[in-house]
């Protein structure tokens, strides 16, 4: 998954830049994540879709399958997002379809993450031949194009309903997470506290559960979010090309009907634009959450107090290689917060 590219072995290594001489402000780490604007926006959008998925069928103005005489109507007061070629209400299709999208995304995300954690942590922890084999396995799964694989599996299944598709996506999509997890476990395994626990005769499974997994939380979360994104995209794509049952409403199904009934040629933009925007919005929310996690894990990506407007006002351009110098106003030194100190020479 291209958006996950920040997690590589190089980066998983702990920060060791030039000696800064000062630690980052020791703030409560947990709240740092929630203070991140990007992550917060993403979570907000996710919450919105989550609520929609739960209450969707009750608040939808129409039954999404109910045909009517209003054929291919543009948006109006009675049909906010217009109707399709058989007069079905598109807004209702989107609202009802939200659940299908989220459920598949969640199931696929959970199953792929669980598989990824098991394979990745095991590989990273046992080392040796077992590691080689498991790494090779996940690399094989990474190289084999997932979407065509999912297509031929789903295409040969007699019925490819939501849960089936979710499981197929989960079974084929765990490799990236496993790779990242393995790299992180490897670096964790060499750290002192794990070594110490091992020297104390701690059992391996306890070591993994108590010492390793808690330190992987952020990476696991990022992997989960990435997989959910991939699962949503895959499922919508499968629905769009008509592999999953076209009677199960999700955003891809709407696009399937639109594409097959020449919505493009008829200029019926309301048919395919809103569903696509919903997918994009959901995808963006997930990406934003992942950015938040990224910046949480990799402090170099964080913009420490870099409020662009404030910097411009103080004429600071933060960059590497040329430390900004605060220009002194002509009336004297700016207050840097130190109490005024007279030198002893002056006094004596």
């Amino acid at each position: 998954m291209a958006q996950d590219t920040t997690f590589t072995e190089e980066q998983a290594a702990p920060e060791r830049a030039v000696e800064h001489d000062v630690d980052d402000p020791r703030r409560a780490k947990r709240f740092l994540f929630l203070r991140n604007g990007k992550a917060l926006t993403g979570l907000g959008i996710l919450l919105f879709f989550g609520i929609l998925a739960v209450v969707g069928p009750w608040i939808a103005p129409y039954d999404p399958n109910q045909v009517s005489a209003d054929l291919l109507q543009p948006p109006s007061w009675s049909h906010w997002l217009g109707t399709d070629h058989t007069g079905r209400d598109i807004l209702s299709q989107i609202v009802v379809g939200t659940r299908g999208v989220l459920v598949v995304g969640l199931i696929a995300g959970v199953s792929a993450t669980v598989l990824g954690v098991i394979v990745g942590v095991t590989a990273g922890f046992i080392g040796g031949m077992g590691d080689e084999t498991l790494s090779a396995l996940s690399n094989v799964f990474l190289v084999i194009p997932q979407l065509p694989l999912i297509i031929i599996i789903a295409g040969q299944l007699p019925t490819a309903g939501g849960v089936t598709v979710a499981l197929v996506i989960g079974i084929t999509g765990w490799a990236w997470g496993a790779r990242v997890m393995r790299a992180q476990t490897l670096s964790l395994r060499k750290r002192d506290f794990v070594e110490a626990a091992r020297a104390n005769g701690e059992r391996t499974w306890r070591l993994v559960l108590a010492e390793v997994l808690p330190n992987l939380t952020a990476i696991i979360a990022a992997g989960f979010v990435g997989t959910v994104t991939f699962a949503v995209m895959s499922q919508v794509t499968l629905a769009f090309i008509g592999i999953t049952p076209v009677s199960d409403w999700n955003w891809g199904t709407i696009l399937f009907w639109a594409q097959n009934n020449l919505a493009l040629q008829r200029g019926a933009w309301w048919w395919f634009v809103p569903a696509g925007l919903c997918i994009a919005l959901l995808g963006m929310a997930l990406t934003l959450v992942n950015f938040g996690i990224d910046e949480f894990v990799n402090p170099r990506l964080r913009s420490t107090g870099m409020n662009a407007r404030l910097l411009r006002r103080r004429r600071i351009r933060p960059r590497i290689g040329f430390t900004p110098v605060l220009r002194t106003p002509p009336d004297g030194r700016p207050d840097v917060g130190t109490t005024a100190r007279t030198t002893r020479k002056e006094r004596s």
Binding site: R16, A17, V18, E19, H20, D21, V22, D23, P25, R26, T304, G305, M306, N307, L310, L311, R314, I316, P318, R319, I320, G321, F322, T323, P324, V325, L326, T328, R333, P334, V336, G337, T338, T339, R341, T342, T343, R344, K345, R347, S348
Partner: protein
């Protein structure tokens, strides 16, 4: 402070004249109002041909001082005030902090070169070391041919004791000690007047440390540059440095000749720091750590930052921040008059200070 901070152009390249004068340098981490003040009004002068040691526990600001003085401090570092004057061989005195990007770029490596901490990460892993030495030369010698620069790189390598056919090696093909030598060769490529060495030996084993330190001493003898040697290893500094500045929590607390600091520390922190390292020569003594830990730079106490850990702290220490000034024994004259210390114990004018130093600070 010595008297050399006066604004007088130095005669060209004379030994003992100031080459780098840092005055009232203040540095923040962060750009907002709640930024951490990591350096406050630090002043330090490096003289021509001198090896100045900068020591202190990690996190005390010694590296920050060096990087800020060269404007290499990475974000979110911000220089809030002060000046850094460099005096060239021609006696030209410039404020590094007021130079434009182009001027700064042109003067870098010619005037001041740096050997970074951890040579492993200081070399670009994808370029041959010859190319990395040569591109620094070529950047400052427009019109020079690549071949000439490589020849020069070869002789630089030979100078630090590496066979010239290593030029075509990549950094990962060299050992740690060799990489550090390459860094030194690279730093000396343009015959700089100031060489800043940031923990150059920390990552090396003891034998290699010794070789490198001797190498530096020898090269300085031959080439006559000045060195700022940053380390937390005070015993190493006593070997190599002419003068030592001890830093604590973003301040210089003592500045004196190396042997003076070693034999007659005047600041309680210097004394404590010296007692936490085994002496290289001389009588054995008991090693003692320093109780407590350095203060959180975010929440600095109002008085002396060392007061909470200091055995001699008084009420005034906890309220007023001391500044660098002459020692209480300055009347002794000679070298004693040239040293400075930031400690209230040396200031008899203050309330609660009787002017007599504790015995371990009055040797």
């Amino acid at each position: 402070m010595t008297a050399s901070t006066l604004d007088v152009p130095a005669p060209s390249g004379a030994v003992g004249e100031p080459v780098l004068e840092i005055e009232n340098l203040s540095v923040d981490y962060g750009y907002t109002d709640d930024a951490t003040h990591v350096l406050r009004d630090v002043s330090l002068t490096l003289h021509r041909g001198e090896v100045l040691g900068l020591a202190g526990e990690s996190g005390c600001g010694k590296s920050t001082l060096a990087y800020a003085a060269t404007r290499l401090l990475p974000p979110p570092g911000l220089i809030t005030s002060g000046s850094v004057h460099f005096t060239g061989r021609d006696g030209q005195r410039t404020d590094v902090l007021r130079q434009s990007d182009a001027e700064l770029r042109a003067s870098r490596w010619q005037d001041t070169a740096i050997v970074f901490q951890g040579a492993m990460n200081s070399l670009n892993p994808v370029y041959r070391i010859g190319r990395q030495i040569a591109d620094g030369i070529l950047a400052h010698r427009p019109g020079m041919r690549r071949k000439e620069a490589w020849d020069q790189a070869a002789s630089l390598l030979e100078m630090v004791g590496i066979n010239a056919d290593r030029l075509r090696d990549f950094p990962h093909q060299l050992s740690g000690g060799m990489r550090q030598r390459v860094m030194i060769a690279m730093a000396l490529a343009l015959d700089p007047q100031v060489l800043i060495m940031d923990e150059p030996t920390t990552a090396l084993d003891v034998v290699m440390q010794r070789q490198i330190v001797e190498e530096i001493a020898d090269l300085r003898e031959r080439l006559g540059f000045s060195v700022v040697f940053i380390t937390h290893d005070v015993s190493l500094l006593i070997e190599i440095a002419d003068r030592i500045a001890i830093m604590y929590a973003g301040d210089i607390v003592e500045d004196a000749g190396a042997q003076d600091v070693y034999r007659r520390p005047r600041h309680p922190y210097s004394a404590a720091l010296l007692h936490s390292f085994p002496p290289l020569r001389g009588e054995r003594r008991e090693l003692t750590g320093i109780p407590g830990s350095p203060p959180d730079m975010q929440k600095m106490p109002p008085g002396c930052p060392f007061a909470p850990r200091c055995a001699h702290a008084t009420d005034v220490c906890r309220q007023v921040r001391p500044v660098l000034g002459p020692t209480a024994l300055a009347d002794r004259g000679g070298r004693e008059a040239e040293r400075s210390v930031a400690c209230h114990l040396h200031d008899a004018d203050l309330e609660g200070i009787d002017g007599t130093l504790p015995t371990d600070l009055a040797r």
